[in-house]
């Protein structure tokens, strides 16, 4: 093989390897991703064994601790549908009733179980240029 041809072959092999790897990455990202849903969407389409990213507001008066499990309910931003979640793991400092949170949940035996350490609170109002998060908890 002459050197120019050798280089072309090498380049083709390298490029196809990169394409295969990128395709694998892209494929797995779609199958591993959890869709972001609101409580009403989740109630309508959740299937057992799949995980979903649940986004909404923590329902006032719903937060309860039992052992290492934190139970709380998430409602649609505008109110309405409510999903109870049993969560274990780290609870971020800004978590409180009325605040917007994101948590990855899975439907197990008809109940929604939060994935460990997946709870994220959306930013507190002080940082956003947009509207402040409504309904801070009052004593």
């Amino acid at each position: 093989m002459n050197p120019a041809r050798k280089r072309t072959v090498r380049l083709t092999v390298a490029l196809s390897a990169a394409v295969v790897l990128a395709a694998a990455l892209i494929y797995t990202s779609f199958s591993a991703a959890s869709p972001a849903l609101t409580p009403s969407q989740l109630l309508a389409q959740a299937r057992p064994g799949h995980s979903y990213q649940l986004t909404g507001k923590v329902l006032a008066g719903s937060v309860r601790r039992s052992g290492s499990t934190l139970d709380f309910s998430i409602e649609d931003r505008a109110g309405g549908a409510v999903v109870p979640v049993a969560y274990t793991g780290t609870v971020p400092d800004p978590f409180r009733e009325g605040r917007e949170v994101i948590v990855t949940v899975e439907k197990r035996n008809g109940a929604y179980v939060g994935e460990r350490d997946s709870l994220i609170t959306k930013c507190p109002s002080k940082y956003s240029a947009g509207p402040p998060s409504a309904g801070k908890q009052s004593f």
Binding site: A33, S34, S68, K136, F139
Partner: protein
């Protein structure tokens, strides 16, 4: 004062427009006096923005609540140290910080290159002023840091308690310095392509700035990880959060560039690749700023509102299209001067390292922007979690560490197998021996972590061998004792040996990451006073509750009204190890609806983590005390009813009463304990990287002396100009 600040911004915008026009006119019409004037416009910009930043900083320190930015992010109860740092916690203030730092770094870069590559530098001046002008326009038209409200509110909202942590003072300026410095190589790269001067000179000129950008961005990332570990009640240092990823991506492409530019310097190869990397790094840095400031992705750090999205998307689009157009249209000039001689050469190892780094960047890019990609493609927003990132980044990181050992041990151009075997045999045995030893020693078999320990030992072997050979060669030449020879070796060749030290630090850091993430114990028990919990080999005993009232007493000096905590006794096999004092701070809120007492403690609570850090392991603890018991709630309710807002000192007494009641009848508290091995080596590794980076970046005495001699020669050729003046200029 606000008027002065606003005038500064308008003047700065005018200076930007003038400077862009002057430097472009100067270079297109070959009128160097206009190019010089454009460069001086950058210096003027730096001066004007310094005044503007000082005006805002003074307003924060003086609690001037007529400034909206001050009223929104600071307060009288915010301690002075954090008031100074609160400037960049607001959207407007952080834009001003960006523009200011950008003007300072641009001035430095243009000053250092003032006598070289005039045409390239003129284009770079215009581009750098373009970035500054963009950020100044954002402030003028969207988020004015000098907007005021009269009459001024009596009290501000206060700095978010989460940000009341010492590194907040230094983390954002470091990160922003890194981001703004990334735009300097971008501007020079663009300039070189525009001026059609793509020789080695521009690469040499931007090397220092690329390195400084890489260095400061790295320090910023490290400080962010440290903040996450020791301030957030979470105990992790990296969470694949969108904003963290945004800062890592330009750092990865910057790392790739710092390696591949050596191939261009030595062999005249990879010109297209280098130009693309520089342009990509600059674009990724702007995208990073955009991610933090626009709030487009869900993130723990989503600071911004949606208002800045459109202008940023336009800027990024212009950068991407411009970069691609220039690289494609100048590709004829970017031909390699040489071909790759052999697959077994340092060039090819460097190329492999570049591919891995860019691959890592691609993985992180895809995962970070996946919510947007998936929404665009499928119509549904979806995201990938940390396990997805780990699946790809762990093997890539392993390959990267391996290559960082192999690279320096292989010769340029064409290495022989015999040579490679001789250089790699001892380190390889060291790596395999380490793995065998760990397996025999009964370290639980996590394959990823074991592989990382093996690779780490291999790389340390490679680096040690390089140092040992260098010292031996020097001793043979000069007969110095080993420590002197070592010092001389590093001093004569800072870039090379500084680079090895950086590699060593990265390996140490990765070993810390592998150990602490694979062999971590974490529990979240609910404990009453007197109860204990086991975490790993340790037992943590809840001895008694603690409480402090009033901002002045807050032990962490963060200005919390009330801090409730615990005294924890940590033992191992019955032997006392440490006493820890974790607490949670409760801060005043700006919500009158919470009542006179409730609003004193109704702000966001923040954990004050306590840990016993050690070289083998950290014992980490956080507490979330329960303020929601009926008894404590009743105290707040009664206080709210009986104490008017006008009597804050009485309300504070009610808080003190609440604290006493908590101490007398402490309800069970929620704890989080973590024992993770070798975490400290992450920070030690980071410090080694910083040390190695400083060695490599510091202007060497030799080069300074050489330049001084050259200057002195030039001066002596022109009698009348004093030698002191020449030295002073050095």
């Amino acid at each position: 004062m606000a008027g002065l600040g606003g005038a500064c911004l308008l003047l700065a915008l005018a200076v930007c427009v003038y400077g862009i026009g002057a430097s472009l006119y100067g270079v297109r019409r070959s009128r160097p006096e206009f190019s010089d004037s454009g460069r001086r416009a950058v210096y003027a910009l730096a001066g004007i923005l310094t005044v503007a930043f000082a005006v805002l900083e003074i307003a924060f320190l003086r609690n001037d609540f007529t400034f909206n930015a001050v009223a929104d992010t600071s307060s009288r109860t915010t301690p002075g140290f954090y008031r100074a740092a609160a400037v960049w916690s607001s959207q407007e203030g952080s834009l001003l910080l960006w523009a200011w730092l950008s003007s300072l770094w641009s001035s430095l870069a243009l000053f250092l290159t003032r006598n070289r590559m005039r045409d390239v530098a003129s284009y770079a001046t215009a581009i750098l002023l373009g970035f500054a002008g963009f950020f100044i326009s954002l402030m003028v038209f969207y988020a004015n840091p000098f907007a005021t409200t009269r009459p001024a509110p009596l009290e501000g909202a206060g700095l978010d308690p989460l940000l009341r942590f010492p590194t907040m003072m230094i983390h954002p300026p470091m990160l922003y310095s890194g981001y703004t410095l990334c735009t300097v190589p971008f501007a020079f790269g663009m300039g070189a392509l525009l001026a059609r001067r793509v020789d080695a000179e521009w690469i040499g000129a931007v090397r220092r700035f690329a390195f400084a950008a890489w260095f400061l961005l790295g320090v910023g990332i490290l400080l962010g990880a440290r903040w996450s570990y020791s301030e957030l009640g979470w105990g992790g240092y990296w969470g694949w959060d969108a904003v963290e990823n945004a800062s890592l991506m330009p750092w990865l492409t910057g790392t790739a560039f710092l390696h591949s530019l050596m191939i261009q310097e030595k062999r005249g190869m990879l010109k297209v690749w280098n130009a693309s990397l520089v342009l990509a790094t600059g674009t990724l840095a702007i995208m990073g700023t955009f991610l933090v400031r626009s709030g487009i992705l869900n993130s723990i750090h989503a600071f911004g509102g949606q208002t800045l999205g459109v202008p940023f998307v336009c800027l990024i689009a212009v950068m991407i299209v411009g970069s691609i157009y220039l690289v494609v249209s100048r590709r004829g000039m970017l031909r390699s001067e040489h071909r790759l001689d052999s697959l077994l050469s340092r060039e090819s190892i460097f190329m492999a390292n570049n591919l891995v780094l860019v691959g890592l960047c691609f993985v992180i890019f895809w995962g970070t922007y996946f919510p947007l990609i998936s929404e665009a493609l499928t119509g549904h927003e979806a995201s990938v979690g940390p396990p997805w990132f780990d699946r790809y980044t762990v093997p890539l990181a392993l390959i990267l560490v391996l290559l960082s050992g192999i690279g320096p041990a292989i010769a340029w151009r064409r290495a022989t197998f015999a040579n490679a075997r001789r250089n790699l045999l001892v380190p390889a045995l060291l790596g395999l021996g380490t793995v065998a030893l760990l397996l025999v020693g009964g370290v639980p078999g996590d394959p990823g972590a074991l592989a990382m320990f093996g690779c780490g030992a291999f790389v340390i072997g490679c680096i040690g061998q390089e140092f040992q050979r260098g010292v031996r060669a020097r001793r043979a030449m000069s007969g110095e004792v080993p420590p002197v020879a070592l010092l001389a070796l590093v001093r004569r060749n800072r870039r090379r040996y500084g680079g090895y030290i950086v590699h060593l630090g990265i390996v140490v850091l990765f070993v810390g990451v592998a150990a602490s993430s694979s062999f971590k114990h974490s529990v979240e028990p609910t404990l009453s006073v007197g109860q204990s919990s086991k975490v790993g080999a340790y037992t943590v005993h809840y001895v008694r509750p603690t409480a402090t009232v009033s901002p002045a007493q807050d032990a962490a000096h963060t200005g919390s009204t009330l801090a409730l905590g615990a005294v924890l006794d940590v033992t191992k096999n019955g032997r006392h190890v440490a006493t820890l004092y974790p607490s949670e701070g409760f801060y005043a809120s700006d919500e009158p609806s919470q009542g006179s007492v409730g609003s004193l403690i109704g702000g966001q609570p923040v954990s004050h983590v306590a840990m016993d850090a050690g070289v083998t392991r950290d014992v980490w603890s956080a507490i979330a005390p329960d303020l929601e018991t009926p008894q404590l709630k009743r105290i707040v309710q009664i206080g709210n009813k009986t104490i008017p807002f006008a009597r804050p000192e009485d309300a504070l007494i009610a808080v003190a009463f609440l604290a006493r009641s908590y101490l007398q009848h402490p309800p069970p508290a929620q704890f989080h304990f973590i024992v993770s091995p070798l975490v400290m080596w992450i920070w030690i590794g980071g410090l080694i990287v910083i040390g190695g980076g400083l060695i490599a970046i510091w202007p060497s005495g030799l080069a300074l002396r050489r330049r001084a001699r050259a200057l002195a020669r030039a001066e002596s050729a022109q009698p009348g100009a004093g030698a002191e003046q020449g030295l002073a200029r050095v």
